[in-house]
Amino acid sequence: MSKVDSKLFGALRFEDDQIIHVRSGLPGLRHTDRLLPVSQQAIEPFLFFQSIDDPSLALLAVPLAVAKRDFKLYLSIEDRKEIDFGAGEIEQNQADIGAFALVSVGEDRVPTANLLAPLVISFRNNLAVQAIQQVPESYLRYPIEATVAREAPC
């Protein structure tokens, strides 16, 4: 068992098979090639992706389908290769992947989800890629406050 001393959560212990590997890292961010999903029942449907190599970095995220229920994910051939899926293979094994939108929050502004580039994770091999979508530029900051409130468990 390994440990990361997260700035946000304190000590987090984890097994190697809990690590999500982002081979290319996340654009613009260092130390994001190994992420640990941290879910807390009290804040579902939100969850965090804690960087293992940068204890100060924890990215807030929300499942894509919660941010926008009817969102259809597009995965290019290059993105599929990043998570070791062949052409057409994902369509046959949709339960093997999940997609999460990174969330931006701040004082006095509505939380927004990045639907332009969701983090797509293969649960088969724990590989992930930030897959750019063919959607309007406004989806980069898609307001989620009302959506999450409606979708959150009671």
Binding site: Q40, E44, A65, L116
Partner: protein, 105 residues
């Protein structure tokens, strides 16, 4: 915004140092060649936007905001607090993610 038509093999010049050449056009896609000084970064626009947004997401997790979520969650669950844990690995996320719709286009 300058709107113009160019054919394969033709170019645009931007100032004295930047050339954008149309190399090929086929199947609804345009292959471009860009010559620019090395100190000028050339990015896909969406890539640049994602970089900036990722940085925003990395720095904007406000403690107050998270506490607000947690307090709301605690009120809902009726529990005084909650246990922080990394549980179940990525597969656990399937449970809260549900079924994914793929765009087959």
């Amino acid at each position: 915004m300058l709107i113009t038509r160019r054919r394969a093999g033709e170019s645009l010049l931007i100032g004295d140092a930047i050339e954008v050449a149309v190399l090929d056009v086929s199947q609804g896609r345009v292959k471009l060649g860009v010559s620019a000084p090395s100190e000028l970064p050339v990015d896909y626009k969406e890539w640049r936007l994602v970089k900036e947004q990722n940085r925003d997401a990395s720095g904007a997790v406000s403690t107050a905001f998270v506490q607000g979520i947690l307090e709301t969650g605690a009120r809902r669950s009726g529990e005084p607090g909650f246990v922080v844990e990394a549980r179940g690995g990525p597969a656990e996320a399937v449970r809260i993610f549900g079924q994914l719709k793929l765009d087959s286009t």
